[in-house]
Subunit: 404 residues, 2 copies
């Protein structure tokens, strides 16, 4: 008995059969005596189809009009899901982002949620309605429709759970929980019953692909009780919650991130302020730099290399080429046939043997490490793209995940 | 130089080519120094496709959720048209029905417009933007999206023109104006340069199909300067305006209405109040009754026959069958292989020869008249469906439309 927010992604509502499967899950939860809010994404390929339509008209359409267009995708989903729930005989009402009270910042295409004015939803829940809400969208202070960008629907669900003090926020996906590695790559990957927000954050940002990190960050900030579970099979998923005191090292998983390119500036003058210049240029273009490596070159020069998201590679190169002479580098190199493989788990710092164990596993598999980065709860290495899956398997095998 | 509202239907925005043709018309009007508001419908078959989608899920989906679903159709249109206008290099903003301030009554699927809160549109015009508005939709006092039902986009355009005191409201269609008869049936049909609101109302409600009568009624009420013109050819259309004093008879056109069924109650007792009982039963079901004919039967009985829209035939029959014994009729007949053919024009009453001329034309063509109805500005006859097109041609030939 409580208030439960359930979120279903695009593939979970893609056709009639899927919609009724979701309707069944939702109404079962309602029948058990809960108040239920359901957040849904656009059906299947709808968003991609709409983007295609827009491109036919105008490759450089304004982001405001793109949001106007794309937000119809979720609006179609909520109406159809509400109709399916009506068909099963339950009271239901669908709400768009603006009807649900999502007030966002004004930047179209990647708006952040400012607040949720939840009176309408509260009123509908009080009228015993199941409330179906369009994820991914909101309204800015100009009264214009915005979209939240990647991972937006997860974020919508967590934000609603936070605003309405929901007892649980359930994210239904096409996997049945969070695994120690991608089960498609590592056969003996193990499903985790629990994971901390911080560990989930590292896994999410490393490309584990189950939850977007924006939603996990928000869940952590507002102490939202999060659960990742299967939209197909009816069994418990993985609970994401506050960190608990760890007694021993717990490696929670191995993640692979393919959205990465490496850029290297070779033969920079060995003078102070060079790194500052480079990274402030990139920051001005809002490019996220991840692993950074600086090494001494020959003849009083140094080399700086770093990774950026694939989509930012060309802009980063452009910016650096422009200032090439000021920076004084001999040359710039870029490559995108690299991936990042990481292990994630609390207690990493107090267990110095972990990194060694990971590197040994890669050495045994004859995989060359190009860059290394570590944090309190993760160790990442950059390796050749062709070695990615072998690396994940080798590292996963090196740690005994069945000990959990 | 002025404020112009332009409305384009679904077939005028159905694909890339059409959207750019509309964008050209709109931006030409803007370049000429006008403020421009564009009202558009959903693209081509979008609305039908969405209805089909809904039916797959739930044949009896609530009207509220249908409106939530269908309103996405125009939202897609406005975004794409705005993108096309952006592509041509003009400042533009698209607005949904609720953003444009359309406040409607609450009845979903056939909501009437209560008022337009035009601040947002006014602000956008003042910022020199072309404003693209979603027709057919609004918001009710519960904050829910409504649709206006058939002819809704025409009505949206006229309502905007009225609210903003536009200098002209141009309705672009796939014909280039209002004709004296359907040009597909009558080869020598003539395009009218001008027509009065009342004449247009009769033509619209008689199935001439160019403008929906709701929009004409509103134009009449608020003195909106209306123009019907072609979305394809660039030439003057037909102006719809206030009646002017007519010196001589002006038959404006011949219209055919196929959306009609005839119901007859045979052998009713010849007592007072029978007609009242019948028509209040039908009124309670909101069935519009058109031509009514009462004739004396044999043995102190009478027969009453009348026409209803095709879609209401079965409900009308059901209602009457239920009260069959109370009404005391011998039997009920219904037929739907009938059509209504009408001539429309001011000055009908002061020219008694007009009806005779029409009936003579039908007699010469050997077409049997089943029912007759007349008003100040029209004469309608009910005839067999098979004779419809021959009747339109015959009546059109009897009047000399080139005299105008």
């Amino acid at each position: 008995m409580g208030l439960i927010v359930q979120k279903f992604g695009g593939s979970s509502v893609k056709d009639r059969e899927c919609l009724f499967r979701v309707a069944k899950t939702v109404t079962d939860t309602y029948k058990a005596g809960n108040e239920v809010i359901v957040v849904v994404s656009a059906q299947g390929d709808t968003t991609d189809d709409l983007i295609e339509k827009a491109k036919e008209i105008n490759e450089r359409a304004s982001k405001r009009e793109m949001d106007m267009l794309l937000s119809t995708g979720e609006q179609i989903s909520i109406a159809l899901l509400a109709m399916a729930i009506e068909k099963l005989g339950f009271p239901v009402v669908s709400l768009t982002g603006w009807q649900a009270g999502f007030i966002t910042h004004s930047n179209h295409g990647a708006a952040r949620i400012r607040r949720i004015e939840a009176e309408r939803i509260r009123r509908e829940l009080d009228s015993n309605n199941i409330v179906v809400v369009a994820g991914f969208q909101g309204l800015n202070r100009f009264g214009d429709i915005t979209t939240l960008g990647r991972g937006g629907s997860d974020t919508s669900a967590v934000a609603l759970a936070a605003a309405l003090h929901a007892d649980r926020c359930q994210i239904y996906t096409d996997v049945d929980g969070v695994y120690t590695a991608d089960p498609r790559i590592v056969k003996n990957a193990v499903k985790l019953d629990e994971i901390t927000y911080d560990e989930m954050l590292e896994l999410a940002s490393l490309g584990a692909g189950v939850l977007h990190n924006r939603s996990v960050e928000m869940a952590k900030k507002y102490h939202v009780n999060l659960e990742v579970l299967s939209s197909i099979e009816n069994k418990p998923g993985t609970i994401v919650k506050e960190a608990v005191k760890v007694e021993k090292l717990l490696i929670k998983g191995v993640a692979k991130d393919e959205d990465v390119a490496r850029i290297a500036l070779i033969g920079l003058p060995d003078t102070p302020g060079i790194a500052f210049k480079i990274f402030s240029l990139l920051a001005a273009k809002k490019i996220n730099v991840d692993i950074i490596l600086q090494s001494i070159g020959r003849h009083n020069t140094k080399d700086i290399s770093f990774t950026v998201p694939l989509a930012d590679k060309d802009i980063a190169l452009e910016v650096l080429q422009e200032k090439f002479e000021i920076l004084g580098a001999e040359r710039i190199e870029a490559e995108d046939d690299v991936v990042k493989v990481s292990i994630v788990g609390a207690g990493m710092q107090s267990n110095p043997g972990v990194a060694a164990k990971m590197f040994e596993a890669l050495y045994d598999a004859n995989i060359n490490i190009q860059m290394i980065s570590t944090s309190e709860i993760k160790i990442s290495v950059l390796i050749a793209r062709k070695d990615a899956d072998r690396a994940v398997v080798a590292v996963h095998d090196a740690f005994d995940f069945n000990q959990k």
